[in-house]
Every structure is written in C-alpha cells, then in structure tokens.
Amino acid sequence: MTAAPLLAVEDLQVHFRLYEGRARVLNGVTLAVGEGESVALVGETGCGKSITARAILRLLPPNAEVVAGRILFRGRDLLRLPEDALRRVRGREIAMIFQDPATALNPVFTVGEQMLDVARWQGAGAAMPWARRNRDGEVRQRCLEALRLARVPDPEGILRRYPVELSGGLRQRVLIALALLGRPALLIADEPGTALDVSIQDQILQELRDLVRGRGLAVLYITHNLGVARMVADRVYVMYAGEVAEVGPPAALFDRPLHPYTQGLLAAVPRLTGTMGAGIEGRIPDYRNPPPACRFAPRCPHRLPVCDQVRPPLGPVAAGRAVACHLYPPVAPVPAGSAGARHGAR
C-alpha cells in the first residue's frame, strides 16, 4: 500500500484519572486504515480497543486524558481540531456504529425523530428549530434511503416506531442506517452485533461487509471475536493491554500467529471436536501499575530477560506483517507508509 492511509493513529496514549490513581490504559497504539480497507482491531475485554475507537472521534469520558499521540484523518490531526470542525467530521466523514442497540437509541423518541434530526442537524453549530421546515422532504428521503441500504423492511413504518418496539436485529440495522446518513468515508463498528443472537449477528455482519465493499467504504471493526475478524477484515490488529501486539492479514495471522499472545488466543478457541482449548495463564495488568516494558511479559511462556527491560517495538517481519515482540527482530528496512511501519519505541 503506497497511498497515504485514510486514518492513521500514531502512538496514541490515553490515561484515565481515577479515584484510586491514574490508569495508563493506552500505551502507544498505532494503526492505520486505508481508503476502502476493512481493518479489524481484535482483543479481549479490557485491552483498550473500545477506548481507541472512541478516542478517534473524541468521545472519551471527562476523566480521560489523551497524553500523547496523533490521529490523522485525511492529513488533519483530529486531536487538535477545534470543536466545530470536529463536529463536521463526526457523522459526515467518520461515523460510528454502536455496540448495544438497546442503549444506543434514545428510548423516548421515535426512530424517525432521531434519524431526521441527525440528517437535519449533523455538523451544525446549534440547532435552530425554526430553520428546518424547508428541507424536510429531502431529509426524509435520505433517511429512507439509509434504512433501505441497511436492509430495514418497511422503512416508512419504522420511522414511526419507538426503539422499544423493535427487535434487537432491527435496532442494529437502524444504527447502521444512522451511521450511513452522513455518507462518511470511514465507519467504526464497535463490536457490531455482539448483543444479538449469533445467527442474526452473522447475517448483519455479512450484509455490512457487502454494503461496505459495494460502496468502497473504509471500516474499522472493533471486536473480541476472532471469527468475526477473519470474516470481514483485510487486515487484523491484535491488541493487548493498551498496545498493538501484532498486525497482519487474517488468513496468515491465524494460520501462523507470531506473537505469543496471538498464539495463546488462538489456542484458547475451543474446537468442535477434541479439546476445550487452553487458557492463557494470568490476567490483564493493572493499568495503574503496568509492567515496565512488554505488558504481556508476566504471562508470556517465552519470556526473556530483555522483555522486562525494553519495550518491544512494533516492527515488520514480512510483507504486511508486523509484531511487537523481542522474539522477532525486524527483517528488512521499513517502506514508508505500509501498515505497522511506525516504531512504537519509547
């Protein structure tokens, strides 16, 4: 990949101010998504993948602090944008599909009210109720079109309904439609469908994948499910404890995992026949007092002394693959602009 990526997160560090201290959650996350590319960010609960996703659109809670790093989108650093410019990016250039359709829709307003308002007012500085009458017809058409794209049956009827009246699958589709309203170039899908039945989740994921491919949208999938990553992504980032452990195309990554954590993850998947799968010893670190160098070292079966002293940089090991582990010294000089090119050394 030689063109500049659509989205480039560089060495993102995010701390949380807690009552009991400071949690250094994101410790230099680096990833990139190219135009039209589908990228998955995979990791277990608590590894910081959702935080990374939210940081992109600056949706972090008030006690979160971006300590360092840049988030470049089409060349602009989103972290430095003024409020009104950021609002124009949200929804219209980057849009997020939320994880839990039960809570991401306001229960006391109809779907229509919420969608129409988004279509009408997204990006505006302030909503002025009297200025809306004239464009209502066009706005409504856009909403219906978005609902159709998301394969929502009877879009007209859905607009009149309250979220509580819809099934989980329908609500998820509404969320997808909401994300598509602004015609963004990049979608961030936060654990899409995890709150739903597996069969429905599957269907929605496939439709989403086809939709995205059809319209050339870039997507960043956040998921803890390796199967989902394999199904939808062109490239997978494996995340552990606030850092990127490994990057690569899904097939190669899953067939030949390099980072001990990825290996552990794959070994932990129960097979239909045979073993239940083995777990990984230990727990994710306490972010208030994380390991000084490699954050996986305490649990790593291949731990070396250097792992407790020097943090392993994310270095390329083959075409399109990179690992942050002392077991793999970098193979060749890094071509500029490729995935995982940045060294995360501190």
């Binding site: 949200r90 988004v118 509580v164």
Partner: protein, 336 residues
Amino acid sequence: MSFRTYLLRRLLHIVPVLLGLSVLIFVISRVIPGDPVRLALGTEATQEQVEALRRQMGLDRPLHVQYLTYLAGALRGDFGYSLRTHRSVSRDLVEFLPATVELTTVAMGLAVALGVPLGVLAAVHKDGPADHLSRLLALVGVALPRFWLAILLQLAFAYHLRLLPTIGRGPAPPVRVTGLYLVDSLLAGDPGAFLVALKHLAMPAFALSVGSLAQVMRLIRAGMIEEMRRDYAVAARSYGLPENLIVFKYLLKNAFTATLTVIGLSYGFLLGNAFLVETVFAWPGLAFYGVDALLFKDFNGVIAVTLVVGVAYAVVNLLTDILYGYLDPRIRYSEG
C-alpha cells in the same frame, strides 16, 4: 398491562384511599374535647339553645350515622354548615378555592420554570462556579422556613422598597369566570388588572415555590448528569449533532420524566406550606380559611378543607402519572 389499564387501576386505587381519609378526618374531628357548638353560640347561650343547635346539626346521632349522612351530603356537594362563617361550607369553598389554586399552580409553575434551566446549567457546567452556586441555593431552598422567607420578603419588597403590595390579593378583575385573577383579567381584556394581580401574586408564589424549586433543581441536575453518561448521548454526539440539541431536547426529556413523580410529591409539600404562606400574606385562599377554621374549631370547615387538599393532591399525582406515561413510551409498551 397496557397504559390505559394502568391508569384505570390508579384511578380505582384513589377512591378507597380518599374514602379512608374522609373516615379518618371525620373521626378525628368528632373527638374534640370541648363543645364547639357552645363555643359558637357563646357563653350566654342557654342549654336549650345549645341542644337545639346540636340536634339541628345532627350532632346527637351516633358517630357512624353522622359519617354516612356527611358522606352522602359530600358526594352531592354539600359539606355542611360552618359555625364560624354562618353559611354553607360549599359556598365558602367556592369562594376561597380559586385563590389557592392560582397561588399553588403559579408557585409550582415557577418551581419548574426556574428549576429546570438551573438544573441543566448546573449539570452541563458540573463542578464549575455555576454548579456550586446552584447547589448552595438548592440546600438553602430546602431548609428555609417558608413563612420566615415570606416575612423577610415582605420586609424587603413591601416595607422598604415599596415595590410590591404587603398583603392580600388585590381587587378582583371586572369579570369573574374562573376566580383566577390572572386568567379573568386577561379574559376581560384588562392588562392593568392583570398587572395588579401579578404584583400581588409575586411574593406569595415565590415564597411558596422555593422548596420545590430547590428540589427540582437538584433532581434535574442529578438526572442530567446521569443522562450525559448514557450510550445514546455518546451516540448522538458521534453523529455530529450540535450540543444544544442533545442537551435540551434529547437528554432533558429523559431527565425530566424521571423527575415527574417527585414533582407530584413535592406538590404535596407545597400545598402544606400554603397554609403558612397564605397566613403571612393574608391571601384569601382555602388554606387561609382552613387555618381560621382550625383556630375556631369549625369542624365542618376543617373536614372540607382536608378533603379538598387530599383530592387536589391525588389529582396532581394522577396527572403526573399520566404525563409520565405520555412522555415515556416504555411504560406504554411494556408487557405486564
């Protein structure tokens, strides 16, 4: 259970409660040590006159008979005869009720109209100076004795600044349709009368509203803070919606709905305090009438006032329940 059923059940629940209340009050009032009849007639009255009046008022019958007679009458709108004002209590009610309705409604309206924006402001600027100030005001508002505040207001605005009238409701507007001076003066097309009525209403309504205002402000603040943390708030922001729309339309509705039940309860305390505020301002309302009835031991008056207060309280709570159901569709659509 559908919403309609829920409402019906609530309505049906009120009836036995009010009946029970009437029994309670009736029993209490008949347990009076001392003889109110003699009190009314004065010390010079002869024994025969006292007995005659007692018989006329039915006070010589057994208690349960008295109650049933009273109940039958009350349901027809006849609340008996007042030994103090020397006319039927129902007439008194009709005369004095509108003033209290006007006062309490305006007070509650003030509490909501001021409390909601202040609460939102405090939540949005959490931990800022505006927030701390509003929390201080909330604490003060709840602790202030309403009658003391009323007196202080009188001192300041009536005596010293001479901006507002000291006591009373002022002259009645030219037409009497509802008995509410504000409404009637508008109906008569008389802005001058409206202004006069407003000036008289200002201090009593404000003094009365302070406690509820503080409560509303606190609740809205707490509600909004919680709302701002919700997923749908983050989602709305992620779509690029402007902040004022998110806060004042989407979040406020949820926060306000949650406050409704407490507003209903708060109205009860407002009603209770009306007895004190009306006394301070000599506001010719039901509560003022009630206090006189109490001091005079005019039990028909006392019972009637208590029942009206009970009904008013129940009605307001029912209205807030209806409003809640209307605003929050989850109530309507939940399976029983």
